[in-house]
Symmetry: C2
Subunit: 346 residues, 2 copies
DNA sequence: GTGTTTGGCGCAATCGTTTTCGTAAAAAAA
DNA sequence: TTTTTTTACGAAAACGATTGCGCCAAACAC
């Protein structure tokens, strides 16, 4: 079964013209008389001629498609970002091919190679939690493939980046907990190799220090798999809960960590925020119907997707090699809800 | 900036062979001596030769990619389904191009035409809420483009379908509410043109009738935009709440309607399930941390995505025209949580 | 009337691959 | 030795579109 479309050759035959004449007519070349142009255009319109993009890609050496690698699409942050990517790409007539690394280094490598061999014109990437080495991307980049990073970025490749203000987001979240009167504030975060981890960790630490407190390493839990493995998150949480001076608040550093932590605490029948308060990075559209509603650091995911796509397309379409790169840092928003309220002591 | 890869021609030149010999060697043709094959293969491996998929597509007339049109990806049902689609597609070496209709008929038409002109080999579709006419798809199908439907299907095109057992899911949800002692059970659902709407409505009605009750049209609210427009859902809900014999339970028919309804009820400070119980179709991974945790009809989204992709690829790769089609109906699961508990009257 | 310009179009190469067909040399059969 | 078969390879067309170049005829200049 296959899909037969009308080609330039069909038009040429039907009108008794040569293939090149038709092609030029369709492109409005001055070499072709208005008469012939009109004739060709009319015929093309009538039979709904659409140039075969595959043939065009082959000829032009560009496929008008961009590849995207994120860890996961069933996560509101990334699905919103993808909405942004798609909207800009479509508007500029690029196709988007989405792939998921599921936080696995191996899948990220496989996807990047697969996409580049599928001749995407460029790549948009948010690194996987397992990725600490970006040689696979360096290779592609050196061969001339435009790459742009968002969210989880690396400085090992000189290119555009779009991130949220992770430092400030984390700082504000932590300061908010401090202002609410919490003192033993734990932080559950992802793999230390991720840019977002270090930035958020930094914001968290700085807020504590600015409040005259000494960040305590025991209160910081790293989850290498970024919440993809629930057991890992559970253990991190258990370690916190079993401490003699157990935290009175937790700041979680990602969407999945936030929902997983909330879910686990509820399963353990731990009252939030009564026994432990919770603030998390999350773009979940349901954060206000969680139990309790979840105080969240919200990233401008849609805008991030839009901007990184614009930057990538600039890179792709640039005639001359680009040598100066942008690092855009977009503002986050702290949405205060019930999970971080300091209840009066009973 | 462009990405230069090694071609078959480069290999030919380097080894002093002809292009066709190299091609045949790479394909293991019997026409080529083992010696030459080994030489070519070694060279190809060393220089990481990858056939240019665009050239292959042009030659073969197939692009090894499939298009997907869903209303939305930031919705756990669809993102899970896409996970299923991707996993099967990737395993069979197909690319997946995902697009969103956002419940708009116009965008669905535009996307389907764009995808077909981008020479996808086939299309997987879940219809938009606004779509009542599928002529745009009929046209493509008649031209020979393989199409397969999941979730929101149509019988206007003879092809494979994969759906959840919407009738049974709705029946069980309604029966559950009845068993809990609720009597005035309302139903908020999507556009009546959608298959899922009629099937779920049917299950809802039948459950009431089997309990000796007469379905009351006033308790059934249709949202043409399937929850994409919050105001529409709000009005439907308000109409229910303002009825003299206001419902004591609501059964919502889709992911977005469920979360929106829950959110609205909470904003109005209506106690769930005390004043109104709630059961919804949803695949939200956070349903158990909602407030209250949400009793849900869960669809096997991943499996649905996998199965429809297998069926589509069968269609694409079939040598002879396929004349018998499958309609697979997968089981749903009712997850009972707090939102539907009948509390003792105070 | 000869020479030059220009308008309008077609030829053919090209992108990278696949595939049919032809052919030279080597091997086998006569 | 001659004929046939086999082996191993190359030439070329094709997929659909783009584009530089060449060509013919009409229009113009002189």
């Amino acid at each position: 079964m296959k899909f037969e479309a009308i080609t330039i050759k069909d038009i040429a035959k039907a009108l008794g013209l040569s293939i090149s004449t038709v092609s030029k007519a369709l492109h409005g070349s001055h070499e072709i008389s208005n008469e012939t142009k009109a004739q060709v255009l009319a015929y093309a319109k009538q039979y709904k001629y659409k140039p075969n993009p595959i043939a065009q890609s082959l000829k032009r050496g560009r496929s008008k498609s961009i590849g995207v690698i994120v860890c996961n699409i069933d996560n509101n942050f990334f699905s919103q970002a993808i909405n942004g990517i798609e909207s800009v790409a479509r508007q500029k007539d690029y196709n988007v091919i989405i792939t998921q690394s599921r936080e696995s280094y191996d899948r990220e490598v496989a996807n990047s190679e697969h996409l580049s061999s599928r001749s995407v014109d460029g790549l948009i990437i948010s690194l996987s939690a397992e990725t600490s080495n970006v040689d696979h991307l360096v290779r592609l980049h050196q061969k001339g493939l435009p790459i742009a990073f968002f969210d989880r970025v690396t400085d090992a490749i000189a290119t555009h980046q779009v991130i949220a203000d992770n430092y400030k987001g984390a700082y504000e979240a932590t300061r908010h907990l401090l202002q609410q009167g919490f003192r033993r504030i734990a932080h559950i975060t992802s793999s230390p190799s991720l840019s977002i981890t270090t930035e958020r960790l930094h914001g968290y630490r700085q807020a504590l220090e600015d409040a005259g407190m000494q960040p305590d390493q025991r209160y910081i839990k790293l989850c290498e798999h970024g919440g993809m493995i629930q057991e890992e998150t559970r253990q991190a949480l258990m370690q916190l809960l079993e401490m003699p001076d157990r935290p009175d608040a937790i700041f979680t550093a990602s969407d999945r960590l936030s929902t997983t932590t909330l879910s686990l605490l509820r399963q353990m029948r731990i009252d939030i925020p009564g026994q432990i308060a919770l603030v998390g990075f999350t773009n979940s559209i349901s954060a206000d119907i969680f139990n309790p509603s979840l105080t969240a650091v919200v990233q401008p995911a849609l805008e991030m997707g839009q901007q990184i796509t614009e930057l990538l397309i600039q890179l792709i379409e640039s005639k001359r090699p680009v040598t100066t790169f942008q690092k855009r840092i977009l503002d986050t928003e702290l949405k205060i809800r019930d999970s971080s309220l300091h209840l009066p002591r009973l």
